[in-house]
């Protein structure tokens, strides 16, 4: 269960990366991801690899943690490799397994994709692992706020995300409780006929839905009673501050992006 939620989980440590402005981290991440999709061969991946590796070191994250985030992707990779080895028949024959010729392009193509995915997961995990969900929400609100001009409800979206985040543990607890309560009434998710299984699933979903609805109702009342008005102006308590190092990260990452674009044009 613990490995499943590694992707996107916040790891509370004290590091320079943790202390950075989440907006800078998100902006840098986007520059990084764009760079990643400009194909300049292995040299590009080497540069980006060094950057993300430096980031992981600075964030004091254990490599094993990044590896765990990567693990669920493994099956997909293997599948992709088999598909590529089967489908791509260009380049020279590198080697052969059981009489099946593997072409060089298939190997390089697979390697490209694997590297790209690895770097992508690495970079996003680096951001989510070093940023509190709450700060992430605020950063998203700030980054989306220019869209308010065209009527995009940036604030509402941020409020929705933060409430969803706040209630995930509560709902998990609730679903555990409902599962146990129904197990006490003889619900068995593993055995039984098809119809019985449908009933078993219903016996979990309906109560969870009812209780979530009740919670949402209570929450709406509590928010309104404390003066929340989605259309009114609010003064936000949590504020983010861009420092010199944050600007340097954003500028630096964009310079890398520019460099890679230049490289692409030159090659």
């Amino acid at each position: 269960m613990n490995t499943a939620v590694v992707l996107g989980r916040y790891i509370p440590l004290d590091s320079p990366v943790h202390r950075m402005d989440p907006r800078a981290k998100i902006a840098a991440m986007f520059a990084f991801l764009i760079s990643l999709f400009i194909d300049v061969g292995f040299i590009g991946y080497a540069i980006l690899g060094v950057i993300v590796f430096a980031g992981v070191l600075a964030a004091k994250l254990k490599p094993s943690y990044i590896w765990r985030a990567f693990k669920p992707m493994m099956i997909m990779m293997v599948f992709l490799m088999i598909l590529n080895f089967y489908a791509i028949r260009t380049g020279y024959v590198m080697f052969s397994i059981f009489g099946w010729n593997i072409y060089s392009d298939a190997v390089f193509q697979t390697l490209y994709i694997v590297l790209r995915l690895l770097l992508m997961i690495n970079a996003t995990t680096l951001v989510t692992a070093t940023t509190k969900p709450m700060d992430m929400t605020i950063a998203i609100e700030d980054l989306l706020s220019p869209l308010k001009a065209v009527g995009f409800p940036a604030h509402d979206v941020a409020m929705m995300i933060s409430i969803a985040l706040r209630f995930i543990p509560t709902l998990l607890e609730e679903s555990q409780r409902i599962m146990k309560a129904q197990a006490s009434r003889g619900v068995d998710l593993e055995e039984g006929k098809f119809m019985e299984k449908i009933m078993a699933i219903l016996s979990l979903i309906v109560p969870l839905f009812v209780s979530s609805y009740q919670k949402a109702d209570d929450l709406a009342n509590a928010m309104e009673a404390r003066g929340y008005d989605p259309d009114a102006k609010r003064v936000r308590y949590r504020r983010l501050k861009m420092r010199l190092s944050d600007w340097m990260l954003v500028i630096g990452m964009n310079l890398v992006l520019a460099g890679i674009i230049v490289l692409k044009v030159v090659l």
Binding site: M134, L165, T170, D218, L219, Y228, K233, R234, R236
Partner: protein, 274 residues
């Protein structure tokens, strides 16, 4: 001065008539307990007062002003309410953020927020937990945070809608003591909706609501010693009064007391007088 005046208030929920003409007035700075069985309409009344529901007919006057759609936000700034379920009213991701939520809505200047948060966290003894997430707090602690959140907006009326009913005895005691200390220190008018007859013995007035109507009203001594009325509305006698009735059977006559402390004193004096 009456801070709250309700006249002939009706409310309907779909087909069902929940409130059938409630009239009630509260004087500034008083502590009123509202008693009544489940489904009597007490929580509905609380939601109507803070404008979370809309009345069918009748009148609700807050601070001398009729509550309407237009002034509901302005009047709501002056009333705080703490609900029953500690989990479902915790909005922020930490204690600090939750206390800040109301301040944010009321557009309190940013530089004033931290001092206010600190002050009210201190008031409810939650200072060590300012950066704690709600999942790591007990029910009683969450309710204390909810109280800090509403107190920070300096309300003139505070409503507790069964705020202790989901707590363990320790949590109940904490919250009740907190409510009483708030009432004593600040001149806030308090409405406490409860099932707990012993809780109602404390305070200035008791209102019994049943079947959408005011069934009885008066001082705790008047209402809580009226066994017939209490029984008719599915409520129990406070223990000290139940004891008084038992004593009467064995020929010991005492005057009605609401608490066991008073009853002990009364018995002791009776015996000493002999």
């Amino acid at each position: 001065m009456n801070v709250l005046e309700i006249k002939d208030l009706h409310f309907r929920y779909d087909e069902e008539e929940v409130l059938k003409g409630i009239s009630l007035s509260l004087e500034e700075g008083t502590y009123t307990s509202v008693l009544g069985p489940n489904g009597s309409g007490k929580s509905t009344l609380a939601k109507l007062i803070v404008g979370l529901l809309e009345k069918e007919s009748g009148s609700i006057k807050l601070f001398g002003e009729e509550l309407t759609e237009k002034n509901v936000y302005a009047l709501r700034n002056r009333i705080g309410i703490v609900f029953q379920n500690p989990d479902n009213q915790f909005i922020g991701s930490t204690v600090r953020d939750d206390i800040a939520f109301g301040l944010e809505n009321h557009c309190v200047p940013h530089e004033d927020m931290d001092p206010l948060i600190d002050e009210f966290a201190e008031k409810v003894s939650m200072t060590p937990f300012l950066d704690t997430e709600p999942t790591k707090l007990s029910g009683g602690q969450k309710q204390r945070v909810a109280i800090a959140g509403v107190l920070a907006m300096s309300p003139e009326i505070l409503i507790f809608d069964e705020s202790t009913s989901m707590l363990d005895p320790e949590g109940k005691k904490e919250i009740n003591e907190l409510i009483r200390s708030i009432h004593k220190e600040r001149n806030i008018t308090i409405i406490s909706i409860t099932h707990d007859i012993e809780e109602a013995a404390w305070g200035d007035r008791v209102v019994v609501i049943d079947d959408g109507k005011v069934a009885a009203e008066g001082t705790p001594a008047e209402v809580l010693s009226d066994a017939k009325t209490l029984e008719a509305h599915r409520l129990e006698l406070p223990f000290a009064l139940e004891m008084r009735n038992a004593l009467k059977k064995y020929g010991v006559q005492v005057k009605p007391c609401l608490t066991i402390e008073d009853l002990t004193e009364e018995l002791w004096q009776l015996r000493s007088a002999k």
